[in-house]
Symmetry: D2
Subunit: 138 residues, 4 copies
């Protein structure tokens, strides 16, 4: 299915008193990576594809990460992301963060395709065929 | 004019590899302090007074801080905030952050009272008399 | 085993353009919750128990969360944390975030007890008996 | 004196419920911009020049910003940074953030060149001639 790769340069303020990336920041990087992957798949920026598909967002319902090697200020890491599953109204993503070419973190996430209802609330909606096709492409 | 005090407990993730609070986080604390001060003055939570006064927010137009002493993980600091000036549609705030009772940071900010226009954009609006009275109270 | 509860007040800056907590921030809250739980168990602040036990930290090796209900600016949520497992040199934690008394997020984490070696690097070390006893207490 | 320019892509998580960049995050961007400028001037990464010059850091002693136009998710802004003053052991920086080529924020900062003393504390130290020369170059 669709995959994407991006680089992240670790900044001073991403790191904690132990001198390594404060782990909640990795989830920020992974959120950016998913946005970048879908923007690549849909060939438009996220703020445009939200409008284009008429959705309220792709909220996270489940995520997790396994931390194998720490990264520090000045490291430039690579995040390889791929769609691993498509449900009726949700999809799963796997992120692999590489440092010096070696796996440092493995993360997974499950997100839902949601629209805003007439009452202002959000509810899941089926992945459109166009999305299914673009995300399913190798 | 109106003043308020609150405590902030410095968390591990607020600090950087130098072991002290990463300074952008102080602006987050000061933003929370202004919200808390106005909530105290208006006797309701910010999410309620935004609605109550029909405003879109109180965006920052100018802020600055002078850093005298650093703080670290585990410190409990006090932020004393006060309204220092009220213009037609703006107001100024001064924050003093104290560590162990001594001044550690002095900060100032100027914010604008804004409403949302029919075009979706925001524009400044005069401070209502009720607000002027509540913020002006000693 | 040991458990602890704390309240978190959701701040404006914790939330994203969808108006709900930006999910990486929950991991920041959970990190604070684990620090608070161990500080309660050890009856001293984290910056003191790091020294007291001669460790370099308790780095995260695996964490995940399932998001059931969103929270917004002004919500005061409760995080209930408990030790769920103790290994030779690691321990597991479960966090339940409650909003209005209802489960909103369930999270788990696995952390390692690490000391700094002579080479400056870190390596896992057995949980001391005193720690095992304090964290194992009901 | 020395100047530098970099681009920042505004991410979803940089923005607040008003849909614009949460202003404390701009200080994070400016901190990165100063690090990038000095890295360009010194032709090595910050983590290397800290070692190279034997300093503990360049802590902020005074900063401020004037916010003229907001930026939002998806904007790619430019930060132009320049050294504006060099004191005996401090230097000043001016940042101009441009959105669509127009000035959106003006910020200034004053930082101190510090070394770690034998007691573990930090104290200011004179800017080395080599630094003075590199930062003073047009």
């Amino acid at each position: 299915m669709f995959s994407h790769s991006m680089k992240v340069q670790i900044q001073f303020g991403d790191c904690d008193p132990a001198g390594i990336v404060y782990y909640p920041n990795y989830f920020r990087f992974f959120d950016n990576a998913t946005a970048a992957m879908l923007s690549a798949a849909f060939a438009m920026h996220k703020r445009n594809w939200l409008d284009h598909f008429g959705i309220a967002g792709i909220p996270m319902v489940d995520t997790g990460a396994r931390f194998v090697k720490p990264s520090s200020f000045g490291d430039v890491v690579e995040i390889r992301s791929e769609i691993t599953e498509m449900g009726r109204s949700s999809f799963a993503v796997k992120h692999t963060l590489l440092k010096d070419g070696e796996m440092a973190i493995e993360a997974h996430e499950k997100r839902v395709w949601v629209v805003r209802g007439a009452d202002g609330g959000i509810r899941s909606a089926p992945l459109p065929d166009a999305v299914r096709k673009l995300l399913g492409a190798a």
